[in-house]
């Protein structure tokens, strides 16, 4: 379905035929005015064609010559760019490849060490070290036993004491 503008344009350019033409002409409120406008449009077209069509290109040969020069220059630049590209590609294959490999390996190692270090359980706490070193004084508590359950991975330590009569005064202070 054509819009009014499309149908009008087609009608002006004599592109409507058959049923489409009769339907469009029947839809025109004032066919005489429309015909007058069609004539005007045709006169406008003739004017444009007459005045604008014969614009000469002066120096035609120079135009082509200049274009040939530009095309040749373009070709030379493309060739140079291609050569640069090839050189770059060759350089990639030998030293840059080695350097890239070494650098990647170094980065990988650093990363791995850092991650492993982070995953290590924390060092034993100073408090636990004191207990383990001192144990229980055999003079004060001769029957005392100390059991330690430790899961370093989860950072959990359970200290289980039995038969303990007293704790050294400075036991926890340190």
């Amino acid at each position: 379905m054509k819009t009014f503008e499309e149908a009008w344009t087609a009608w002006l350019d004599d592109q409507l035929t058959g049923r489409e033409l009769s339907e469009f002409e029947a839809s025109l409120p004032d066919k005489t005015a429309a015909e007058a406008e069609k004539t005007e449009a045709k006169r406008l077209g003739e004017l444009l064609k007459r005045e604008l069509s014969a614009h000469p290109l002066t120096n035609e040969e120079f135009f082509s010559h200049q274009l040939r020069e530009k095309i040749m220059q373009e070709g030379r630049e493309s060739a140079r760019a291609g050569a640069r590209q090839t050189a770059t590609s060759k350089w990639w294959t030998i030293p840059r490849l080695l350097w890239a490999g070494a650098a990647s390996l170094a980065v990988f190692l650093i990363f791995t060490v850092a991650v492993m270090h982070e995953k290590n359980p924390a060092e034993e706490s100073q408090y636990l070290t004191q207990i383990l070193n001192a144990r229980v004084d055999p003079v004060v508590s001769p029957n005392a036993t100390v059991s330690i359950f430790e899961v370093k991975q989860d950072r959990v330590t359970v200290l289980w004491t039995e038969g303990l009569q007293t704790l050294p005064a400075d036991y926890a202070a340190k």
């Binding site: 005007e40 002066t58 082509s64």
Partner: protein, 203 residues
Amino acid sequence: MQTEATLAQSDVSELDLVKRSQAGDTEAFDGLVTRYRTRVFGMIYNMVHSEQDAWDLAQDSFLKAWKSIGRFRGQSSFYTWIYRIVMNVTIDWLRKKQIKGGGAEFDDAIQLTEVDPASRTVPKKEALPHEAMERDEIRGRIEKAIAQLSPEHRAVILMKEVDDMQYHEIAEALGCSIGTVMSRLFYARKKLQTLLRDVYENV
């Protein structure tokens, strides 16, 4: 070895020139340029109204055509294909100029002094001085009126009225639908009829 003149002759098929150009034959491309340079230049000139700019834009268009001729698949005529490049280059240029000029370009900023009088239509016979003046004046009025159209409307009306192109060819060249072409033609004609009524009624 074929010369440029030979290549430009119509007995060498356009398709052959295109195929050879696609294979990198600059002489064959030269043949295509020779065939279409005047039409291309004329169309661009009517769009931009400046000899120098039309020359540069025509050069740019052909250079782009050379660079992308490998992508031409022959689904349309070479002329329609190159027109698409020409229109892209010219409309882009007009848009940039409009932006730089603060939008005045499509009104009445184009001065007739930009047009080289010697470059205007050459009459078949020597015109009398008053006839030449009258013709220059008419031409100036037309150019001024066209300058008031948007680049797309200019392109459509010039391709239809001056180059006798079909709707579908214009649509291909501008990358739009046939309906859009017809709609643009409608508005471009209306505007030019308003601006040039006294010209075509008195000629």
